[in-house]
Amino acid sequence: MAGKTVSSEPPAKAGLRQALSAPVRLFMGIVDIPMRGWQKLTGLNGMAGVFLAPNMLIFTVFVLLPLVINFIYSTTSGGAIFLPNRTYVGAEQYRILFDCGSYLDPSTCAADTFWAAVRNTAVFVVFQVSAMLVAALATALILNRELSNRGFWRAVFFFPVLLSPVVVGLIWKWILQRQGLLNYALSPFGFEPFSWLSDRFWAFFFAVFVSVWAHMGFYALILLAGLQAIPRDLYEAAAMDKASPTRIFRRITLPLLMPNLIVVLVLALIRAVQIFDEVFVLTGGGPGTSTMYITQYIYETGFASSLRNPGLASAASILMGIVLVILTLIQLAASSRNEKKGKRQ
């Protein structure tokens, strides 16, 4: 009997499996011939290039090429879309963007709306990312405890992540408008109807609040995974030493969660710099330009306005791209530092 495998699969099922896998085997057989040819030609190491080529092609067509075209657009002026119809102006669009009396005061800049958008984005990033980290960490800590119906509560916090940003924006717009749910709920307490999104402070507050509400579930999930990877015996040892909950959090949870926190921080930063959809639907960038962020500026300048200027929009998007590249490099550096640290431990 040795060497003979006995299949418990019924013959009919095995036959069906054979029949279904036949086209795959046929395809593999056909592909095998050129693959062997390639391997002979390029050697084993060259095969890596062959397998990477499809992805590189997609990356080139959909990322690299648009990036290059975008840069070329940023060196042209006019309202025309086709490059041959546009006038080459060199670095003029960048000169316009950087033509400023003081970068801290957008009103002294030629492209005042651009700098207002940059300032708004910077302020938004600081408040939104801080709020996101605190809220996601608090949620993860609560969801990590022994709760009844824990699966249900995890789903509740994750659910907004599944919603389209436009739906998120519209839901909150209906809640916050003058005839909205919030004013209705406050009216029994004597509050006069208030247009929350027409006030600069409240429009900013709700832009931050809504974006945190919409995305927090995703980051909380990352932190929850980190929390569950912390060995339980560390907590048991701390409990035996009668360490306070604050001390346990500061000395055990926070240091061991740091790799996840750094990932969340950088991802949230990148997402916050790119903020557009839900805030655009919620406030339209108003009141005035107080919630107009850099992506909306690019959209308005390049497409929406009859004063549209694709060259200026391209230059602004190149600058934004540089910021995002820097943030991504920070993320990569942080990840590799954590990896090395993990290996040393």
């Binding site: 006019g78 086709f82 009103s107 929406a304 004063l307």
Partner: protein
């Protein structure tokens, strides 16, 4: 072999039929303010029944799509075959000259000639389309609120200041907003011209913003600050995004709403007999009592693959019977000269609508000369956009009025320079 031949023949038939259907496709991009979408659908269904060789596809979109996405499509040499557009002159280079394709070009010249220049390049005699309706901006009054407050509705020669005072009294008494004006540069241009504004310089290029425009815009900003005008409308977006205040009026939350004749159909549907409303023309400034003429035009796009079919559809839609039925059912002021001159039987029992349409027709005669020029002026939309973006910033407290005037001039200058 016979079986193979049959399969081949069937395949060829399917391919040919699909190619034939594609050859006769006429795609129309259409937005609606009121009920005109349903009316045009009905009219086109009749056309399709009589012309099975032409496949008309009506894409109903929001106004924002026409304003923001269509221009980009056109610049890329794409787009629908026919489009309903308000920014007609600035995009005139993209419209198809239908003159050589039409059954009777003279009929078009005679009946749509008055507005033909609004939708063709300067100096051209092209026929690119027709106005689906003539619009005029004007003020709507919630008469019930005025009556309940015991405030008399100001007369036809009342100024903007008179209206502000009267509407404020109503607002204080009825706990509503006094006034609102749509977030649109076009909408405030009538009032600007009433105070003597002129946007067009001697060389045909945009003139710097003048004292006439400043007279009204400064009042408008002040009324926003004082809460007389519903501030939400203008600060609820950044940039040049269009916002109407129609819903506030429909909900009975506004004493006076300055918009235009295209709202009538929507009001007829949504207000019904909830309250009495009247159209009160355009308030006066120091120079005139004018609104802005305009409207939406249906234009053929020159990138169409089927120009003959497009002309066939346009000929049908421009015919007297179709024009009359479209205007009567959509409750629009017709652009067609003969139809406008004849007896109109607007399909509504609502007395407010009949009265409002008559009032708009009467007010059209008071349109000031500078306001008549703007629909056919290439830079009008650039002017409107700059006003909206910058005055919104002033109302939101981001900018001083004098700085906004300087920025408006700079924005327009940059636009002219870039083109």
């Amino acid at each position: 072999m016979t079986r193979m031949k049959s399969i081949g023949a069937a395949l060829a038939a399917v391919l040919l039929s699909s190619v034939a259907a594609h050859a006769g496709d006429v795609r129309i991009m259409w937005y609606s303010d009121g009920s005109e979408g349903a009316v045009i659908k009905d009219l086109l269904a009749r056309f399709s029944k009589a012309n099975p060789d032409v496949n008309v596809i009506l894409d109903e979109v929001s106004y924002d799509v026409v304003k923001e996405q269509l221009p980009v499509q056109l610049e890329a040499g794409k787009g629908p075959d026919i489009a309903r557009v308000t920014n007609l002159k600035a995009q005139a280079q993209h419209w198809l000259d239908l003159r050589p394709l039409l059954a009777d070009a003279k009929y078009w010249d005679d009946n749509f000639g008055a507005q033909a220049d609004w939708m063709r390049p300067d100096g051209s005699n092209a026929i690119t389309g027709f106005m689906t309706q003539i619009t005029l901006t004007g003020g709507f009054v919630n008469k019930t609120l005025f009556d309940q407050a015991g405030v008399e509705i100001p007369g036809p020669k009342a100024t903007w200041d008179d209206w502000a005072v009267a509407a404020k009294k109503v607002a204080d008494s009825q706990k509503v907003f006094a006034m609102a004006i749509d977030r649109s540069g076009h909408r405030v241009s009538g009032p600007n011209i009433s105070y003597g504004a002129n946007y067009i310089a001697a060389d045909g290029k945009p003139a710097p913003i003048d004292q006439g425009a400043k007279e009204f815009l400064s009042r408008f900003v002040k009324w926003n600050e004082e809460g007389i005008v519903n501030k939400d409308v203008w600060v609820s977006a950044a940039g040049t995004t269009y916002r109407a205040a129609a819903e506030d009026f429909i909900n009975g939350g506004l004493a006076y709403y300055y918009s235009g004749s295209w709202q009538i159909s929507g009001f007829a549907q949504k207000i019904g007999d909830s309250f009495d409303w009247v159209m009160a023309g355009s308030p006066c400034g120091t120079a005139a009592c004018t609104g802005m003429q305009g409207g939406a035009g249906l234009v053929a796009v020159k990138y169409t693959k089927n120009p003959k079919d497009v002309a066939k559809v346009m000929d049908y839609l421009a015919s007297v019977d179709v024009q009359k039925e479209f205007a009567e059912r959509s409750l629009f002021i017709p652009a067609h000269k003969d139809v406008a001159a004849g007896q109109m039987d607007f399909k509504t029992d609502d007395p407010h609508v009949q009265a409002a349409l008559k009032a708009f027709v009467a007010a059209a005669g008071q349109t000031a000369a500078p306001a008549m020029k703007l629909p056919g002026w290439k830079w009008s939309d650039a002017y409107y956009s700059a006003i909206v973006a910058r005055i919104s910033q002033v109302i939101a407290g981001e900018m001083k009025l004098d700085d906004a005037y300087a920025r408006i001039d700079e924005d327009i200058k940059a636009k002219v320079g870039a083109n």
